[in-house]
Amino acid sequence: MKSKSISFRVFTIVFLFLVILSGEVIAAGGSKTVSGSISGITYFAEKSVYTYTTSWTASAKSSAISNISIIGYTWWTVYRICTDDVYAYYSRSENQSNRNSNYFEDIKWIDHYQYSCNPGYFVKKSASLGNHQFTLNSTHQYPYVEYVYP
């Protein structure tokens, strides 16, 4: 019994050791989600920013538990600003949506090298913000969601 217990402990240590060695890919960044309801249908409005090795991404995602007339966003801005308050990247899109659907997602892919800060300055924040759109019959909801990293 005792030897089994020791074996189990050793196995656990080896397993954890190997897990630590193998590592895992976790992109830096995160997301913010706001939920609501339109005519009894629950919806979710999400913005995100994630940083990778060669690029970073920003997204605007609208989803609902069942199909609605219009799902998407009315406007969406993505920007990166440096510590000298100079914009390294700026983009604005308007009125993108799907009809009779429960899902809409837009993801921007942005290259690190192309949009960089001036010497002496660093990335201050990267942001994804704007109003989503959820329309069912003649009812509209435009929740504002903003995610800023870090």
Partner: protein, 284 residues
């Protein structure tokens, strides 16, 4: 009765010792570099279809971690890259996807060019520290778009000396690439190899990202599921030379996004209009 666990324990200790030895290997040290040198050209790792300006050559894998390669580049640059006096760094970013030449930020009217040249004059002292710098981002048409200046007062006026740490030699090595690699997956997905171009030995750095959901960028038809970057450093001086970024689309095709080239010149003195910036006011 206890033999089995002891065997497992010994195996664990051997594994741990191996890991410690691996981690204890000093950066840039003879072992990996010598191995790479002797591997050329007999024990060939791969044949690289390199960037346009880099002739396809035989490559030898560099058995170093991202952190070790980073440190080796810093050490080489400290010894060889900057010299006392004026140094001019020219960075040229060519974008291959642009439908428009620039974006205007509506809040402040700032222009963000898709293609740009950044020319930076750096004054380096005897201790190889940058004590003054002037940088201007220009469009490919030569229009100046953004200026930045710094000085500790030893040349011209004292101008934002608190920013000088970000102008030092390491900034021009693009080491943030390594920091992102390490943050992304501990640098495991990056590969490093040495290639020969004429009399020069170049370090080739390859890294690739995979995205959980496909994304889009202006000027590229189709969704991007992955992207990769190939950068080249002068392995003798540590100088960052070139980087090319590519997107991988859902159909498996590749699209080049951009190309960044960096040149370093040892200039006797900057032009008079640059010198004047250190004594007068600059427009932001």
């Amino acid at each position: 009765m206890y033999r089995k666990p002891y065997i497992v324990l010994i195996a664990l200790l051997v594994l741990a010792a191996g890991f410690i030895l691996l981690m204890a290997q000093k950066p840039g040290e003879a072992k990996s570099e010598a191995a790479a040198q002797t591997a050329l050209p007999t024990a060939v790792g791969e044949v690289i279809q390199a960037a346009q300006s880099v002739t396809p050559v035989m490559a030898a894998e560099v058995e170093m971690s991202a952190a070790q390669v980073r440190e080796a580049l810093v050490e080489r640059a400290k010894q060889h890259l900057f010299k006392p006096g004026w140094v001019m760094v020219r960075e040229t970013l060519t974008n291959f996807t642009n439908r428009e030449e620039y974006v205007v930020v509506p809040m402040n009217g700032q222009i963000i060019p898709k293609n740009w040249v950044r020319e930076t004059w750096l004054l380096v002292n005897e201790d190889l520290k940058v004590v003054a710098g002037y940088s201007v981002v220009k469009s490919f048409k030569g229009e100046p778009l953004l200026e930045t200046i710094v000085s500790d007062g030893s040349f011209g006026k004292m101008i934002q000396p608190e920013n000088l740490p970000g102008w030092q030699e390491e900034h021009w090595l693009y080491l943030d690439l390594f920091e992102r690699m390490i943050e992304y997956d501990g640098g495991k997905s990056a590969t490093f190899s040495l290639i020969e171009q004429g009399a020069k030995r170049l370090l080739r750095v390859f890294s690739q990202d995979f995205y959980p959901s496909a994304g889009y960028t202006e000027g590229v038809e189709g969704a991007i599921v992955s992207s990769f970057s190939t950068s080249y450093y002068d392995w003798e001086t540590g100088q960052f030379l070139l980087s090319e970024d590519w997107a991988v689309l859902t159909d498996g095709s590749h699209k080049q996004i951009n190309r960044l080239e960096v040149e370093v010149e040892y200039s006797p003195a900057p032009p008079a209009e640059v010198v004047a910036r250190f004594t007068g006011e600059i427009k932001q």
